[in-house]
Subunit: 380 residues, 2 copies
């Protein structure tokens, strides 16, 4: 059983990553050519740990950046306005239902701040994307972390019970599909619960991976925001749109909730680079389908290898896969890092399982070869 | 007497600016050649209203952006770490005394949030950079706005009285040099007061324009932060470093205050473009001196014109100038806009005066010619 460590905590000591880059097997000259992989700065380990889209920056976003950046000495209001107009069109919502976030992480913060109250508690699944806990604690809220079921499903019944047991206001965080499991929430049960949103029961729906979902049952909660002001949907350009470094997220909610979030926001929170790149990526009709196809190819390859090795995996509706490693997860991650592949971090209640980001097919081929070699050593 | 309108409020309706761009005299073909000016997108009015550095993006920042942006599909932790290390070296402080902000506007928010308390009030000068008022109100704090003296000086005596009259905690915001006046705070009086910082009296020092100050008496409050945890200094890359569009600010404070601010921060708040551009700009030894020299040349030109016209101006320690327009400020701004020059917005308690951003000398030549033409029409 591990404590949940966030990317922020992991990266608090940058030295550890640097050391890996120097000691990983990929730095041995003979292997670099044989195993191409996506890197941040032309060298270093294979990065399958942060759920980035390793196809790289969308070409149209690169062009938009080249065109716009000479003007970065000006405040970026126009570019922000253009992006928001494009998003309104994309989602068929009014501009009053949208708010820009410096990454969806800032949307989550604005939502928590807007929903905070003296008697409020936060109810969230565990493990899940954990940052809302920090935001709630910063507002003095009580935090109830509800473990996933033994099948790693978000335990809506238990979460409802936690809400019912609290005399004051509840703010419920749900990640759909959930991170790190990749599992979609049960759509019927979810929709029934979201229908109960009220002044005493607010929902924050994190749909960071929505564009990767294959399951036809998936329905975004965006449609519910038009008439219910107690619900926020968070979306991001860090995942399928491949812009994690530029920090663009957005929230969709009822205009009344958008106003409440706006009152809690840091002003001028949009940067020119993120705005122009996001707009270009959003308006590229091929980028999402290309990324989904690449992701499916990588997924199929990894699933075949896992099946060959008799390691279970959960159904995948994201650009990462939660799978068995038959042994201690921390030891597995450490051995992978020593082999030049960063495959994750610790999540609570899930020892023996690991979250694997799905990189490009060529990257996943390297991973599969390494996993097979691990089996030969008796490590998985 | 005008209400103070922020850039955010002004830009809430982007349509107004767009209309100006179409109707300003600069769009008439015959005049575009005669009056070169800096623009955001190759056309539109001369922008002397937001205190940007219209020399444009530092060349080394442009190169750093071109090198780094293909990697923007990754999270930007390494680039952020590199920038913070460079800042620590630049200011000769430890990394534990620094925090990144998505513009200094986010530093101000973190500071207010970290200092907020049930019994706290915010005390601020009026007019000044007004966003802290919004942040304090979002935390339920009382806000006391203390008018500048008739000579437009920050009225420290009156602010101290407001602090003394309050039984609870006071958070004091000071902008040095003040925006929109450009006046430095009286250094001796200021330092005495800052020495009183305690658990019951916290200070937020906004030094956004510090790099432009000419007065040798100016002393940054950075030195005081090492031993006093009740003081935050906010700095920005939006002004002399010409990166307003990329949203990079930073705070300097005692490690205990940095921790308190960090607990209130949105995670992953740094973007790759801002980080690499800021580091390159900071490490360019010529950029600041070039910008200061250009600013001085523009200032001298404008001061000569104002003197010729018998219009008073305050001493200038920034990249903007507060000067008389002998008449209603709103009407003056409107006429300037009709002539294709945006010169500002309304500030409280200062009708008859205007804040003029100092652009490049060629831009200020256009402004001076226009001002002289206004005198000929009897408008100033």
């Amino acid at each position: 059983m591990h404590a949940t460590l966030s990317r922020r905590q992991l990266l608090g000591t940058g030295a550890a990553l640097g050391a890996l880059a120097l000691t990983g097997c990929h730095t041995s000259p003979g292997k670099v050519k044989a195993m191409p992989f996506s890197q941040t700065a032309g060298q270093g380990p294979l990065l399958l740990n942060f759920n980035e889209n390793s196809l790289g920056l969308p070409p149209k976003a690169q062009q938009a950046l080249a065109d716009a950046l000479p003007h970065a000495f000006r405040y970026p209001d126009q570019a922000k306005g253009d992006l928001m107009a494009s998003l309104a069109h994309h989602h068929n919502v009014s501009g009053e239902q949208l708010i820009y976030g410096n990454g969806s992480s800032e949307i989550l913060k604005m939502a928590v701040d807007a929903m905070a109250a003296a008697d409020a508690q936060l109810v969230m699944p565990d493990p899940s994307y954990g940052v809302v806990e920090d935001y709630a604690l910063a507002r003095g809220m009580k935090v109830i972390k509800v473990p996933l079921t033994p099948a790693f499903e978000t335990d809506i019944a238990a979460m409802k019970a936690a809400v019912a047991a609290h005399p004051g206001k509840s703010v419920v965080y749900l990640c759909n599909p959930n991170n790190p499991t990749g599992l979609m929430l049960p759509q019927g049960e979810l929709n029934l619960w979201l229908g109960e949103a009220s002044g005493n029961l607010s929902f924050i729906l994190d749909e960071a991976y929505a564009e990767y979902v294959n399951d036809p049952d998936f329905v975004s909660a965006i449609g519910l925001t038009r008439h219910n002001p107690h619900l926020v949907v968070a979306r991001t350009f860090s995942k399928i749109y491949a812009l994690a470094g530029l920090r663009v997220g957005y929230g969709i909610a009822h205009p009344a909730m958008i106003n409440a979030m706006s009152a809690q926001a840091s002003i001028d929170n949009a940067n020119l680079a993120g705005c122009v790149a996001a707009k270009a990526a959003l308006e590229d009709p091929q980028w999402v389908s290309l990324s989904r196809a690449s992701n499916q190819q990588s997924l199929a390859m990894v699933l075949a290898t896992l099946e060959e090795l008799g390691l279970k995996a959960l159904p995948c509706n994201a650009n990462f896969l939660f799978h068995q490693v038959s042994g201690d997860t921390a030891l597995y991650q450490q051995r992978m890092a020593q082999a030049g592949i960063l495959v994750g971090r610790a999540f609570s209640h899930s020892n023996g399982w690991n979250r694997l980001s799905l990189g490009r097919p060529d990257e996943m081929k390297t991973f599969c070869q390494t996993l097979i070699a691990f089996r030969q050593k008796g490590w998985v």
